[in-house]
Symmetry: C2
Subunit: 424 residues, 2 copies
């Protein structure tokens, strides 16, 4: 194995990695960080660099006993990555800081219609009524006694990247694409609970209502959701976060986030959609001919390069292009990257596990030579659906929509390394 | 699909779920929670039950605008699940409260040898030296520029369930098995970084050292770890938590947790183990003949029922048995559950995804008839290794060890529903 390393490793005359091309990292960059530190660090006498504050951190952490265990840990005080508000009732996930496929619960995007309610879990109830054999009210402990299921799934607001319908408005990946997040969700299958109360064979739609101050309400056709929908009480191994519907939310993997009703208190079975406010005043898509698409539930395949992305700066040399791809229809099967504004495409590596209706991380190794370029990614899912370019999407949909924008995202890299959002 | 529900759903004469047997939930339990609530809850006039405090939560959350978005979210104030200290320098994950396969970073078990250091990330350095072509010191940003990899993996302290060598000491699943946790880890492959500095073909061991106040140090044979070892800077989608080695840790999937050096500051390549304190005074296994096993790195297959588990109480009727299984050798292929103290075994359902060297969640549906019973689980991994019963393990290892106890765990359920730890 060390032989394998020797064979694979390029080396210059002096046995050091070459400065350009063959070595992954730019030598000057490395030396800037490393100068004078070999040996010195062993002695614990590293001098803080000019920009490094000493607030709360000892100069040599090996000389100071550390902190004792804690009941519930917090992140390092040096980390500042944050959701940013998009409106009074939404905030965006910092995708440019993301790693892997999971979103930390603390940074999961938010979208609520009248704020995050404070709910005492022992007081919370779920009523199931309408066209059922027996209306029933469940307490949370009832729902936790049913057989449980877990899955990793993304939730994406249908308004995600809606800023891009009419122009390159978002400055960063957080601003353009930060209304999607992935968690491991645990709860009870909707079908298990419906089986318990007994559903009238003529029932084909279900109303779901939240106990937030908007009483957020959507109608859902039963047939397409029954195999996968879940009533979730846990997220990433612990109870749901308040912003994600604590103590109970609906999850319909792959469907627009607003259908995954949070703070869920009521399900009503019926024969037809209930035509709530959210199905008319919002969550429809205005088409070029003046009509509106309604009940556009599935989130189509989308991808975005999270690094390098808008607002970042890069240096010439090796740059790993990293991004996320996802599809509400199933698994991502292919992500391609272009470094020339879409003239040519190359296959990216997909990080395992590749799960259906879940963020998939992709990587693409690249050498940036300092020229002005445009980076793009596009994806394909296992139904054969391919993420469209902007012209194709606009030709069908026009530019009057708010929701369901999933065109290829372009990042422009200027000669000085600055990355910005463009429509190419 | 509604027809499917009707076919599957057992019903009594009155169309309501049967009280016993055919219905998943015990009817009395349900009615106790539901009495008088149908209708009332629609009006928002649910009366808090006696035990429900109203602290901070409105009686009807639909009547009060909720909270605005936040930069970095917190869990609900009603949730109290917590790590508990096992010693000055360790704390245990509350497995009895776990859902799915992920451990929330805030509840990941802790094991440190002189506390959790506070490290300024821009000041942190990783030195790689010894039998390498070119000693090199990396800053964190250097490591983040390399090609990145992510994987879900458990980390288990070799002392996990060590309380059970000599008697049924732990009261709860947290106390017996709470030194294992699963996260998604992101970083750079060790082999990528070693390739950069160039490893002497004669080097076969590597020293890894932390920058905590113990300068925690282990020797690692290169050959078995090089394909999978990672230098991690992220956990569950954000930077490592301080207790998990912020800003840099080693991860050797499947190996005992102490080899996954946290706060990693130094790697030294050599021809032989360095025989550090941790390789002699600790982390060896005393055998019955008085000799000690050394460098016992791999965590063998283990499983534990997390619910019902010690300290919990159950009610007669439907009970889903839930637990976790994992193996440092690979994937879990089978979990079996016994509800009669090991006389008979039945196959549990494994929750997808089933990932190598990662917690796997299992479920088993059970009807408890109120009799005194003993619950057990045992697992098999894809190398054919089967979790041993206690007698088999003790016959080989004796009872002088501290580490690497992986025998079948038994939970006794008394007629009053109380669950406790026994050796059966």
């Amino acid at each position: 194995m060390t032989k394998y390393l020797q064979e694979e490793r390029p080396s210059g005359d002096d046995g050091r990695p070459d400065a350009e091309g063959e070595s992954l990292l730019n030598r000057r960059g490395l030396l800037a960080g490393a100068a004078g530190l070999v040996g010195a660090m062993l002695m614990g006498s590293v001098t803080p660099s000019a920009e490094a504050s000493t607030e709360g951190s000892p100069e040599d952490p090996t000389r100071v006993p550390g902190a004792a265990p804690t009941a519930y840990g917090q992140r390092s005080a040096f980390e500042k990555s944050a959701r940013i508000p998009r409106s009074w009732w939404s905030s965006l996930t910092p995708l440019q800081d993301s790693h892997g496929i999971l979103t930390p619960s603390a940074l999961h995007f938010e979208r609520h219609h009248n704020g995050v309610p404070t709910i005492q879990p022992t007081r919370h109830r779920l009523l199931i009524h309408g066209m059922v054999d027996q209306p029933w009210t469940f307490i949370l402990d009832d729902l936790k006694r049913f057989p449980s299921v877990s899955r990793l799934a993304f939730i994406e607001c249908s308004g995600n990247s809606g800023s891009e319908w009419r122009g390159p408005a978002g400055q960063t990946a957080q601003q353009t694409h930060g209304l999607t997040s992935t968690s491991e969700w645990t709860g009870v299958a909707l079908k298990t609970v419906l089986q318990e109360v007994g559903v009238n064979p003529d029932a084909s739609w279900m109303l779901a209502e939240g106990s937030d101050a908007a009483a957020m309400t959507r109608s859902l056709p039963l047939a397409p959701i029954l195999e996968e929908a879940m009533l979730c009480y846990a997220q990433n191994g612990e109870p749901l976060r308040p912003e994600q519907g604590y103590p109970l939310r609906l999850l319909i993997p792959g469907w627009e986030g607003n259908t995954c009703i949070k703070w869920l208190r009521r399900l009503k079975l019926g024969r037809a959609p209930f035509m709530t406010r959210e199905e008319t005043s919002q969550y429809t898509d205005l088409m070029p001919d003046g009509t509106a698409r309604q009940f556009t539930m599935v989130m189509d395949a989308k991808s975005v390069i999270t690094s390098p992305s808008g607002g970042q700066h890069i240096q010439p040399g090796f740059v790993e292009i990293r991004g996320l791809a996802w599809s509400g229809r199933g698994r991502i099967t292919l992500v391609e990257v272009s470094t020339d504004g879409g003239r040519s495409w190359q296959q990216a590596t997909l990080q395992e596990p590749i799960l259906p209706k879940c963020h998939t991380r992709f990587h693409f190794p690249w050498q940036w030579n300092g020229e002005d370029v445009i980076l793009q990614s596009r994806c394909l899912d296992d139904t054969g659906y391919r993420q469209p370019d902007r012209a194709t999407l606009v030709a069908v949909r026009g530019i009057n929509s708010v929701y369901h924008y999933n065109a290829i995202q372009s990042w422009h890299i200027a000669a000085d390394g600055k990355v910005s959002n463009v429509h190419a």
